[in-house]
Symmetry: D2
Amino acid sequence: MFEYEHKVQYYETDQMQIVHHSNYIRWFEEARMAMMESTGFGYEKMETQGVIIPVVEAQASYRSMVRFGETVLIRPKIKKFNGAVLEIIYDVVDKKTGVLRCQGRTKHAFLDAEGHLISLKYAKPEFYDYFRKLESAQTEPVTKGAQDPDKNPDS
Amino acid sequence: MFEYEHKVQYYETDQMQIVHHSNYIRWFEEARMAMMESTGFGYEKMETQGVIIPVVEAQASYRSMVRFGETVLIRPKIKKFNGAVLEIIYDVVDKKTGVLRCQGRTKHAFLDAEGHLISLKYAKPEFYDYFRKLESAQTEPVTKGAQDPDKNPDS
Amino acid sequence: MFEYEHKVQYYETDQMQIVHHSNYIRWFEEARMAMMESTGFGYEKMETQGVIIPVVEAQASYRSMVRFGETVLIRPKIKKFNGAVLEIIYDVVDKKTGVLRCQGRTKHAFLDAEGHLISLKYAKPEFYDYFRKLESAQTEPVTKGAQDPDKNPDS
Amino acid sequence: MFEYEHKVQYYETDQMQIVHHSNYIRWFEEARMAMMESTGFGYEKMETQGVIIPVVEAQASYRSMVRFGETVLIRPKIKKFNGAVLEIIYDVVDKKTGVLRCQGRTKHAFLDAEGHLISLKYAKPEFYDYFRKLESAQTEPVTKGAQDPDKNPDS
């Protein structure tokens, strides 16, 4: 499981004296980018090579409040990947206590440099393999194939 | 229908040369606050009188990209209100063309100054009436009661 | 004098229950862009035509606190323009009371699409005239030439 | 010398494909807070004990552009501290190359919980000592007293 640490910044708070809810969407991005980079192939290289991965949906359920002075751990996990769609879910927990702060989800498409939708499997097979590798790294290899037929490249 | 206008700011763009997705969550807040204020009773007065309305869930589906130089209209609409929970849905459309840019949703709870969950109907009946009035202003009075039994204050 | 109105947003506050100081730098940008657009030639058109105007210095002196629920007026004024350097100063005042909130300054260079420094007077004379026009609109034509020899296009 | 590391986030970029200039003001805050915390006495404890340290001035000179994928080091240094005023200067350099990216400065006052200006030396001597310690840690003790008579607590 990949885990990303974020120290709460003062500028992330609002006058409710908690972190403003919009920042969690940014934390998801921080964790997602760090997860991609953790395999040695960061998102900036993808953009350089003509693949853009916009967010097509984002969602966050706020479970408990986060305050300045705290540190959170964000745990992104690939929920679905088939070359055309990428779905990631996130848990945000307090670093010290482990208390759940937020659960979220983002959904992504893949575009080429001209902004057209592409399927990585055909358009950029090396990127396809990269996401497959990332997905494998976070689950048990034995149970993976059995749970999700989408993960069979031939289906 | 309440409508809020937002001119896209340069600092809201990212290197994809579109508005960063996290900003739509902020636009929902702008529109929500403006809708509340449109009846002459803004959110800052609620906070002053000890009622806090945190976001407990936020969601956005991005339909088409928004760029610097454009202006969007955000249309918030109360989807559910029963004194304990408030749900608002949002359409974001391009001002010039009317093209749909984003659809979203936020869910809110009501807290007192000590951070305890409250039901406005009992804890702050004048605020309860205020949200009912806001809700009524945006829907047909004839069909409202029939569609949603939650909206009957006596049920 | 050009004047830009900004309604304080909740997400701009911090836990000190005032607007976070970094947002004033963004307000300067909002006002600067609106001033440019007020003459019918917005910044997005400049970028489209290959002129980029990065900020090379920014400064803000905070005179009194701004809170949620308030509206401010931002008054940008061109302090210096010679085709290679643009300096703008800003006053931020409370809309209701006129009380001074902040004074600031930004300094800008002009780059072409390849990122090289350019002088608008030679590289893009129509943009040079545009800024001259903007500058003239905000000052007395009689005193302008006398005060600042830089403003003589033939010098 | 205290040094704070910041990895550039995607949401910090703008459509110029560089970090938006307002974010450096936030980075100064990140580094300042981390410096304060490095001695085991973070800013959130000061606020809890009734001392607020607002920014009364902020300035940044942008020397070279920072892009997504890069990491910067921010080096805050106390320039002046006399119990009533705190001035900090900042260098931002690229982590990999050491190239200077930005130089900045912030100036702060000290307020009590009611928002009145205070001098730490009298109002909160333990906080005064704390900042003195922080200041000493970053300079040579031999030359310090000679350079700046302000730093003599008895003067």
